[in-house]
Symmetry: C2
């Protein structure tokens, strides 16, 4: 059997939104970063809100021969039980993250930029819709942009090319199973 | 800010099902494999049905310092337009894949086994439910098992710990955009 290699007649950057309340949104974005390395493509991952709890992808991406960079910019999930930081501090971090994203786009160094949890950051008013609009408008046509997080704004869904809604059918934590390394973080 | 490192009091393997018609199921599984390498965990990926068209994850995983193995066992999506192989041949490949999965479980070498597109393979009768049951029964308690593909069997969902349904809200191909490297394959 011969293995076919697809080559699109027209290469173009896509805006992909992965939203919903189920497990697998960030995982899905990380999988695209991994897949992209098979095509020698470069990816930049900016994680909003995340940064206070270690997650395996932080070290995982460092194995990918310099093709994937990841920056976790946050202080955890704003407003959830146990998170000690006020909204103002979360917002300051997210605002700095927006600046970083704009710089990364300007650098022209990437084929894919992943904005992990940005939907959440918008929902929680850590960034403003206008800022996300600026990011999307700045995206050059060849650049893929992947936006993850619950509760994607309908205006973002409108502008996206591909949108998936990941719904929870069940989740291990509801049975009292703690988060497990590799699967959950 | 101190970064917390979660360590579950009880480590346990999870059965995770990622199903639905939307984009991001295989990506999600690949992301878990990448994340697992951050914890020095070993993953084995067996792709059912896939194997006729190059996908970036095939080379992507070879960058992960030997922690992730991937075998694409198939001849493409059985029954879709343009696929020239009869059901019998697809089934023979999937049957060989089941044997491989059982060997991989027996080897005891992995922390995570990903059965990519196995839900589809079952739906299309390339494997029998009893075979999938045998696989799930053979799973040792520490081993994570990730099952992807549309139309997961309700009996599999019943046995799983975490199940996500990825629904298509929109997809670029419906606008006539060809599959793009990195994002789609």
């Amino acid at each position: 059997m011969e293995i076919r290699k697809l080559i699109p007649k027209k290469k173009q950057g896509l805006v992909v939104v992965i939203t919903g309340n189920g497990k697998g949104k960030t995982s899905s974005a990380m999988g695209m970063a991994l897949r992209a390395t098979g095509h020698e493509m470069k990816t930049c991952i900016i994680q909003f809100m995340k940064g206070d709890i270690y997650s395996g992808e932080w070290d995982g991406v460092t194995r990918l021969d310099g093709l994937v960079e990841l920056t976790a910019t946050g202080k955890g999930f704003c407003g959830i039980e146990g998170n000690p930081y006020p909204h103002k501090e979360h917002r300051a971090n997210a605002q700095a993250a927006v600046e970083l994203v704009l710089e990364k786009i300007d650098s022209g160094r990437y084929d894919m930029i992943i904005l992990d949890e940005i939907n959440n950051a918008l929902e929680l008013k850590l960034i403003d819709y206008e800022q996300l609009e600026t990011i999307l408008k700045k995206r050059p046509p060849h650049l893929h942009m992947i936006l993850t997080g619950r509760s994607a704004d309908p205006r973002v869904i409108e502008q996206a090319d591909t949108v998936s809604q990941v719904n929870e059918i069940k989740h291990a934590y509801r049975k009292g199973i703690e988060p497990q390394p590799g699967v959950d973080y």
